[in-house]
Symmetry: C2
Subunit: 168 residues, 2 copies
């Protein structure tokens, strides 16, 4: 098994962390130079951009080009902490818990978008469906796999019937 071969910290010495730190693995380049006019979700964006993976990580992109979509996990780096725990989402006028909305104003300002892959050349992924500010730091890229990531018969809470195109 893969897990056996790699280096892990020992389970019996594990301590719950106070803080978890990551280094960006790339940068998202988009036409959105300010926070105005950004589509609020990648699913409703027709905008192109690109992800430049830093050269040190280029070899980690091997085999990704045969997938059509990726999850991109990134940092909303303009958000000042702490944030309010409840706020108004773009698509409604009453305050919700921030874990029940997709606002960037979150205790850990982590963004998650699904982008379509247009092409990959060396360390650059050309993407479609951009909903993020230019120069956003990237934390991780994962292949989007419909058999893993589709859920049918979902209940969409307060968003039921409210999804529409909107910009920031």
């Amino acid at each position: 098994m893969e897990i056996e071969k790699k280096k892990l910290y020992e389970l019996n010495r594990r301590a719950f962390p106070d803080e978890i730190c990551f280094k960006p693995i790339g940068i998202i380049l988009t036409p959105f130079k300010t926070l105005k006019g950004i589509p609020i979700q990648s699913s409703i964006s027709k905008v192109k951009g690109r992800i430049e993976i830093f050269k040190d990580y280029e070899n980690a992109l091997k085999d990704l080009e045969k997938f059509s979509h990726i999850y991109c996990i990134y940092h909303f780096d303009l958000i000042k902490l702490p944030v309010p725990l409840q706020s108004k989402p773009f698509l409604d006028n009453t305050k919700k818990g921030v874990f029940a909305i997709r606002t960037p104003f979150r205790p850990n300002p982590i963004g998650l978008s699904i982008f379509e892959i247009l092409q990959i050349k060396k360390n650059v992924i050309d993407i479609l469906g951009v909903d993020v500010l230019d120069k956003t730091p990237v934390l991780d890229i994962k292949p989007y796999v419909s058999e893993f990531d589709h859920r049918s018969q979902t209940k969409n809470g307060w968003l039921n019937g409210k999804v529409k195109y909107k910009e920031s």
Copy 2:
């Protein structure tokens, strides 16, 4: 607009970060006390667990109970860095780039699972579809919204036809 009302760092003073640090907002409790026997994806797991959101963040859960599923973003806290940039996934025998597989052994060991919500009481979310080790630190919870998060006609790269139930 929501974005105007909140505190942001100034765009013209923005510097690209060397490191990005987060504080866990909760802990995932699961029956998996070791790394053996964990289902490799939440979509194929029938196992129950719970997420305890730390009391400081309990109010951020308001309105989440009307959603059926969540994205949970967490830290694979046993992974020692650096990791190889290519490795064998659970479902194939040849090495792939780690951004083209869902291995925990990633440059930033960030996990992403979709869990079904069974119930939410105070700061505890009972979940179905557990695929993570007990006591895993949680970074973020977002509502899963089918209209945002479904992609049809995806291409699933090397995973095509290989998805099946498997454990670690």
